[in-house]
Amino acid sequence: MHLGVVDGLILGLYLVVVLVIGWMASRKTKSGTDFFLAGRSIPAWVAGLAFLSANLGAQEVIGMGASGAKYGIATAHFYWLGAIPAMVFVGVFMMPFYYGSKARSAPEYLRMRFDEKTRGFNALSFAVMTLIGSGVSMYAMAKLIVVLHVLDAPFAALGLPQAWIFHLAVVASALVVLVYIYLGGLRGAIYNEVLQFFLIVAGFAPLAWLSLKTVGGWDGLKATLGPAYVHAWQGMGHASTNRLGVDAFGLIMGLGFVLSFGYWCTDFLVVQRAMAADSMSSARRTPLIAAGFKMLIPFIVIVPGLCALALTTAAMAPASANPLAHAAQANGAAIIPVKLDGAGKPMLDSAGKPQLDYDLATPNLLIHAFPTGLLGLGLTALLASFMSGMAGNVTAFNTVWTYDIYQAWFRREGTDAHYLKVGRITTAVGVLLSIGTAYLASQFNNIMDLIQLICAFVNAPVFATFLLGMFWKRATGHGAFWGLVAGTSAAALHHGMTLPADSLPGVKGGWLAMVHLYPSEMAQNFYTAIFAWSICFGVTIAGSLMTRAHDEEALAGLVYSLTPKLSEPGGGWLRNPVVLGVLVLAATLVLNIVFW
């Protein structure tokens, strides 16, 4: 791939604007509240787009394109079932406790509601998860730059070794993110996330349109790939009759309830954006505004993946009439290439067919379809998605480390200036550790599987803890802590005793014993989450009933039944979270029906 001057200028312009935003944010960052919570001054629409953008990282943009190619439009379940209902729930029901309690982080809410040990457990596991998430985002970006040969020509011209491209990509992206968060804290990250959101849309919307046009529209896609790829719900009655390899119970309970609510309602990476809003009303509308845009994201990230598969299928057919597939054939490359092993040989599945490298579906499509100019914009959109994912993790990490670990365990009575300094140092240390994680990731083939697994271990049980904490006044600190320990252990046990089909024991499961074989990795992941959540829920209830109840007066503002009902804000129906939530859910229902 050869980048033109205009492509380079667009990329350069983006990097300059990102740093300028960091500098502008630094002028308003004087205290700990400014640095960690953006002074709780962010308008609803900005917080809403940041809430969405912090999740639009590498795994989302590249991963959902890959899943679109692999599983079809059923991947949209991760949005229409696995995100929107949870985003509405957190906005309407949970945000009053997060924002109203004045907690500075999600683990701090657990300390206020339960006790220090419950907060500590959540803070530590979350901190590890964010570092891995940030490192993997960085690794994925650097690997993509190497695979797409973006910098090959400039490096060759300068006489630099090609092996340095990976190092430069890791260090440069880390440095940019470090500078704008170090200077502007959460405000710098949030404002950049809004820019990154618009860039991702600007870069991927034309790709979706162009690729869909090239395959002959939705009908052309259906004709090339068959009905299994273009229906979200058909065949969901049984794991063997749909491409996801998951039954309806696993899908609805695992993805639609435990994993999605576990992530969107408790993960501080996204919740932090709403906690930075300028009022309770804005905080509640933040996830709802995000949900309004979220339901449309499948059209720009999943559709290109589907089109890439259709073009690859067409390219494999003799004498393809499709111009894009034909161009790809002429270049000697299918849009989605065959996966190669360490020795450079094609990897085969259990049926002896070559496996496709789905992760390259979206990036390769971008290279083949876009002319110079738009190519620069598309690559900038990719870079923006990696940076927003990384920055989301780093800002969540510095807050949790400073307030929930450092202040709780090392220095309780420091000044605000001291914690601000610690926050900035933690940002630098967090970015350095993320670089370490990125290099660690490059040593393992299955790092993406590992991070999904960690999410199932951490987010699934903690959702039961938050749910009981906010809506059951009898839940106690001892019950919550042992529930979390039991839930996390249950996730590990379930994973250790089950395995997806066509997998070897190890990081994919079965490392303790072989009790059950799942038809797909996704099914195993969903059921791991269901087990973890159920055990945590049950043990928390049992443990709470066996221990002394908290004083009800201390729980006011933290538990639903002990908190005065909020009066809904005036100013029209668009400012009312309940009305907004109903509208978002209705629109999502329509999308499910249209793509049934």
Partner: protein
């Protein structure tokens, strides 16, 4: 701080660059056969309009 200003500048700048690419690049390299239109030019104009709109909103918002 109004985030619409840097966003507007970014999009106005990127839009101008895309329009320049659409006008100055050799048509053979613009992959016109795929889109049927000069995508750099059309999308560049759309980004330019979005960017200028964001700048106008930021400036008028500040005056108010």
């Amino acid at each position: 701080m109004d985030v619409r200003l840097p966003i507007g500048l970014m999009f106005a700048g990127a839009g101008a660059l895309l329009i320049a690419a659409g006008l100055l690049t050799d048509p053979a390299q613009l992959k016109l056969g795929l889109a049927g239109v000069n995508l750099d030019l059309v999308w560049g104009a759309a980004l330019e309009a979005f960017g200028l709109g964001a700048i106008v909103l930021a400036v008028t918002g500040r005056r108010r």
